[in-house]
């Protein structure tokens, strides 16, 4: 059984060597395919913008509205405009990666090593996203409030200082591992089930996986927005 499980190739990567640098090729391959599809979709939808939206434009406007609401409720009326593209990109990137990983039968494409899958099932991707979120909330806080941003660390009482500092580490850690763990676990569960019972049984789990994927994208974007909102919030 364990040898069969190993056939799922957990932790195997398609390595690309560029000079001294090693990359996980499968992550970039899938992300380029998915982001390419996303960009084509968006270009098609925004090609002919009308005041009276039709078809794709309608869908994109709905998406835009959804992201704006998310950013506005978490970040607040004052600065949400500056951060909406970033939050939206996080949401779209994670969502497209998760769903693309779950919906497209990547397994049919054989690689010399490793296998194609959701880019968000690779720890590098999720840590990259989480660190970007950390950088952005620091930048948001410092650019909006200057040095007064650090009042946040002692805000209700100075006793909070160690916890708030700890939070700066736990935030990216939890963000990255939550996404990574959920998507990887989903891929593994579906993989194992498909391997054990190739018919019918994996389908509900696949649907559950789609649900998880969407929820994780929403959670990631919402938390990112919340952290930025927390950093720019004025304490009185």
């Amino acid at each position: 059984m364990l040898t069969n499980f190993a056939a799922l190739e957990v932790g195997q990567h398609l390595y690309w060597q560029i000079g001294n640098i090693r990359l996980h090729g499968q992550v970039f391959l899938t992300s380029w395919i998915l982001l390419g599809a996303l960009l084509v979709f968006i270009s098609l939808g925004t090609k002919k913008m009308e005041n009276d939206p039709k078809g794709l434009q309608n869908l994109l406007e709905f998406l835009w509205d959804y992201i704006r609401d998310l950013a506005r409720t978490q970040i607040g009326e004052k600065v949400y405009r500056d951060w909406m593209p970033f939050i939206g990109t996080l949401f779209l990137f994670v969502f497209v990666s998760n769903w693309g990983g779950a919906l497209i039968p990547w397994r049919l494409i054989k690689l010399p090593s490793g296998e194609l899958g959701a880019p968000t099932a690779d720890i590098n991707t999720t840590i990259a996203l989480a660190l970007l979120v950390s950088l952005s909330y620091f930048y948001a806080g410092l650019s909006n409030k200057g040095w007064r941003y650090f009042e946040y660390y002692v805000h209700p009482t100075p006793i909070m200082l160690p916890f708030k500092i700890l939070e700066d580490f736990t935030k990216p850690l939890s963000l990255s591992f939550r996404l990574f763990g959920n998507i990887l676990a989903d891929e593994l569960v579906v993989g194992v089930l498909v391997f054990l019972v190739p018919l019918i049984l994996p389908i509900p789990v696949m649907f559950l996986g789609l649900f998880t994927s969407a929820i994780q994208a929403l959670i990631f974007a919402t938390l990112a927005a919340y952290y930025i909102g927390e950093a720019v919030e004025e304490h009185h």
Binding site: G11, R22, N51, E61, I67, L132
Partner: protein, 153 residues
């Protein structure tokens, strides 16, 4: 180098962190700029233009509605005054016609009375004339009778 490994494995593993991380971060930042110019800005422009259009229309409609209400109230007061005016005119005309009717009635009455009086006077005079004649004839007759009686004796 950028390549380092959390768990000490030399090759592979779930937690194999390497240059994929910074490159992916750069890719996401680039994607943010691309999506901003390709998606968020243009769609936002259209949506906000429409929202502005809609809210402007709502404000305009509200203004028009209040104007209409004002005009309606104006018209209502005008209608009210016109109605009272009409009532006044009608009652005036009624009074006028009543007066004219009374005048005409009085005139007619007077005329009728006058002609009645005239007729009565005429009747009276003719009665007296007739009575005079009658008495004269009676006188003549009695004289005649008297003369005849006297002559027969």
């Amino acid at each position: 180098m950028l390549a380092f490994n959390l768990f000490g494995a030399t090759e592979g593993g779930l937690f194999d962190i390497n240059a994929t991380l910074p490159l992916m971060a750069i890719q996401v930042v680039a994607l943010t700029y691309i999506l901003n110019s390709l998606f968020f800005k243009p769609v936002g422009k259209v949506v906000e233009k429409r929202e502005k259009f809609v809210s402007n229309n709502i404000i305009e409609a509200k203004n028009k509605l209040s104007e209409v209400k004002k005009l309606e109230a104006d018209l209502l007061t005008q209608l009210q005054s016109a109605r009272t005016e009409a009532q006044r005119i009608v009652s005036e005309a009624e009074a006028e016609s009543e007066k004219l009717y009374k005048e005409a009635l009085e005139l007619a009455n007077n005329e009728a009375n006058a002609s009645k009086e005239k007729a009565r006077l005429e009747i009276e005079s003719q009665t007296s004339v007739a009575r005079d004649q009658l008495s004269k004839q009676a006188d003549d007759l009695s004289e005649l009778i008297v003369n005849r009686l006297i002559l027969e004796k």
